[in-house]
Symmetry: C2
Subunit: 284 residues, 2 copies
């Protein structure tokens, strides 16, 4: 049997009791290690689970499904995913491959940033489509996600922006050679995301529904003891350091519910200006 | 300190290890019992936690915040919520009241239907705004949620429809008297929701982007061992019984990703027709 188990967002003990019970009885346990990370690593997890864990990088998950699913008709295999199991398409694919082989599958759900983002006080029912902000390169600077932010704003919906993660990416030079070398992992910060958004806004000439002086909410390490939430202008977010990964960004709707603004106010870097911005954006 | 702890969606052991550890050391534990339910009741939870739990109905949470927060500056109070803590505005309000009183608050996240719905194979990143479908009465039949479904469809996004729950609602007769009597709890089924949707569609005269022959996905008791997922036409969903609560409904986008249709196909009541519908809806 294949168990796909969500680990939640931050700490080793964010796993559900159900999930932990399953891990302890499984024959093999894989940890998916490239679409997201916890605040703890493999060693801490192994200690907490009291068993060994096999790291599964992109190559193994996308090309090595045979290995992961090997003998899972008879043995119990756990596949651990940060957040909820259905956060990434590759996991959906693994489940499909398992079912094709007649292997039973059980999913153990957990928190993902898609619902935990509610901790900033913005109502989950007022979020529109989620967007992903990719790392730009010198030659590849896509901005299609900005259209989705605008579309959400035009319907007075918030936008959760997931920020890019680069784990185990081969260096350009090593791709040409036989021995692949990997770049150090990098995780986009709210400051980097704000910078890219500002560049997109600068390029647009039409009247903007979102500007450098608009409100943005930065979130870091949600669910951990040192999580941080900051509400500021986009311009200010570019200069704000929220510490270690993972970060995400929220572009609020133009008009906030009173309970939303009351809640969000506690995270404002400048409370007076926060209230001014909210009042101004409502009239946009 | 106030701990607001998500319980996940189905079973007693869907709570996180972190959440369970906190519950066991708290002085008082409240269970919010009116915005959602698990597949187990208060007794099973008390047994699993190995401690007593106080049921908190709407009256207590909305008017009795003083009682819940009483002495929480010194004592530890846990407030348990089915799903994730930020699923309902009343919980946001409780946290705000606590902070006003200088009481520290810690949130323990968990799965909610907003991310667990990904288990039907529709990508979470392709969902638009969530809608709530309320129980109609003879004199109150709102259909504003339908506009949001249309808006999502026009952007090729899926819509998660949360279905109404009536728990501890006073009977009309008893409101007139001094002793309030309550109606038995009721939970909207996917069949009832489909019926209301069909009635809305029948009333509209313009060319519809969504019809009785369109695709719908019904989900019941997600996360439990006997969860059910069915993909059928809206007309057929009206006649389909998915068993006990909770149910929810998904209106898929017009055009599905190949991985989405491959995954969803396993839940189709009629696989051939499912593929026909998908093909037809893509051209809408």
């Amino acid at each position: 049997m294949l168990f796909v188990i969500g680990l939640g967002l931050a700490d080793a003990n964010d796993i559900s009791v159900k999930g932990l019970e399953i891990i302890r009885k499984c024959d093999r346990v894989y940890l998916e290690a490239y679409t997201s990370i916890l605040t703890v690593g493999q060693k801490e997890l192994e200690q907490f689970y009291d068993r060994s864990v096999i790291l599964a990088d992109r190559e193994l998950v996308e090309s090595g499904a045979e290995e992961i699913l090997g003998n899972a008709e008879k043995e119990d295999v756990a596949f651990l995913v940060v957040g909820d199991p259905f956060g990434a398409t590759t996991h959906t694919d693994l489940v499909l491959r398992a079912r094709e082989k007649g292997i039973n599958v059980q999913i153990v759900h957990n928190a993902s940033i898609l619902n935990a983002v509610g901790c900033c006080g913005l109502q989950l029912y007022s979020f529109g489509e989620v967007v992903s902000i990719p790392y730009w390169t010198d030659t590849w600077q896509p901005d299609s996600f900005y259209k989705k932010i605008e579309a959400n704003r035009s319907r007075n919906l918030h936008t959760l922006c997931l920020l890019d993660i680069k784990v185990k990416e081969p260096t350009m030079e090593s791709i040409m050679t036989k021995s692949i070398k990997y770049m150090p992992p990098k995780f986009m910060t709210t400051a980097e995301a704000a910078d890219q958004l500002l560049k997109i806004i600068e390029k647009k000439s039409e009247k903007m529904v979102y500007s450098a002086d608009s409100l943005v909410v930065g979130l870091a390490r949600i669910g951990s003891n040192d999580q941080q939430i900051v509400a500021s202008t986009l311009q200010e977010m570019k200069e704000t350091n929220l510490g270690g990964p993972l970060h995400c960004l929220v572009i609020p709707a133009r008009s906030l519910h009173p309970l939303e603004s009351e809640y969000l106010l506690q995270y404002a870097t400048d409370k007076e200006r926060f209230l001014e911005i909210i009042k101004r954006e409502e009239t946009l």
